[in-house]
């Protein structure tokens, strides 16, 4: 079962390593040491927020802004975790806890298309296999990025700054294709964020406000789908 999980986790590994390397490069440029950036991957294990954290460190944002922005950004994992834990209702807490910690957008997506294993004997090992694969490729990739960050040409590493935004676009666009109203929510958040920046607010708080206010549009816009 564990090996089956490794196999299903392989595409995540392929996707994670280059992004993790990019994160390592950017984190290094943001002024973090190799130990710090690798430890961030080990302890935080959340790609988008680590990119954001590194970016915000680079622009000199304060610790509280970064932590609050991370919390708001990762609150989506609460919803994913609820859905995943709902499927694991019959399982012991000693399994649910590590499973919840290994949850990312990608591991959630892969486990979500393999719901049967939740009720199979040793099914937890299948999910664990996926998450272990994802975790180690993320941590190893980050370390590697921190190492090669020094020898990579500046023009290339600067260009890699777009990777974070391209990844967010890559996560957002498939959802927009399924529901056009999602584009409206995202654009509203963009505009609120841009307005807050214009008003002189720091990047961190602008993102927090854009997310909370922009997201509240979903209360009205996502009505029909839920009903």
């Amino acid at each position: 079962m564990m090996q089956k999980g490794f196999a299903k986790g392989f595409p995540i590994m392929v996707g994670y390593i280059p992004i993790a390397i990019t994160y390592g490069v950017l984190a290094k440029q943001a002024g973090m040491s190799l130990t710090e950036l690798t430890l961030m991957s080990m302890l935080v294990f959340a790609g988008a927020s680590q990119f954001m954290g590194a970016n915000m460190i680079a622009v000199g944002a304060g610790a509280i802004e970064i932590i609050v922005a991370t919390f708001v950004l990762n609150f989506r994992h609460f919803v994913m975790s609820l859905s995943f834990m709902n499927r694991l209702r019959g399982s012991a807490l000693k399994w649910k806890l590590p499973m919840s910690m290994g949850l990312t957008d990608e591991t959630f997506a892969v486990t979500a298309i393999h719901p049967k294993e939740a009720n199979m004997k040793n099914g937890m090992f299948f999910y664990a296999g996926i998450m272990v694969t994802a975790y180690f490729s993320w941590v190893a990739g980050s370390f590697l990025g921190g190492v090669v960050g020094e020898i990579i040409p500046e023009r290339l590493s600067q260009s890699m700054g777009i990777a974070l935004y391209a990844m967010f676009i890559g996560l957002l666009v498939p959802s927009v294709k399924k529901n056009k109203k999602i584009a409206l929510i995202a654009v509203l958040a963009m505009l609120i964020n841009a307005l807050c920046v214009q008003l002189g607010m720091s990047t961190g708080w602008a993102i927090v406000l854009g997310t909370i206010i922009g997201g509240s549009a979903g209360i009205f816009l996502l009505k029909e789908e839920q009903a």
Binding site: V44, F71, F75, M85, N86, L103, I162, A166, I169, T211
Partner: protein, 96 residues
Amino acid sequence: MIWIIIIGMAIVTMIPRIIPAFIVEKLQFRDWVNRWLSAIPYAALGALIFPGIMSVKADQPHLGMFGGIVAIVLAYLGVHIILVVIAAIATVYLLT
């Protein structure tokens, strides 16, 4: 300072992931909270993309926009996310 940031980020990342493991058995949300929560990821992604994307090259905001447009088109065509990322990097690299 960076250590406080790392530990703080680790804690606030852990909390939303771990709480459902304890409460899922007894939870029932009001509908509007569900809708708000389900919109949060998209709003967060939107706020993260713009206007930040224009600062990829601080002196040339159009470079980030071009990279972003390439990413949008490829993602819309259903190209794998990793290729979307690589193509956006290549776009900015070649235009620099």
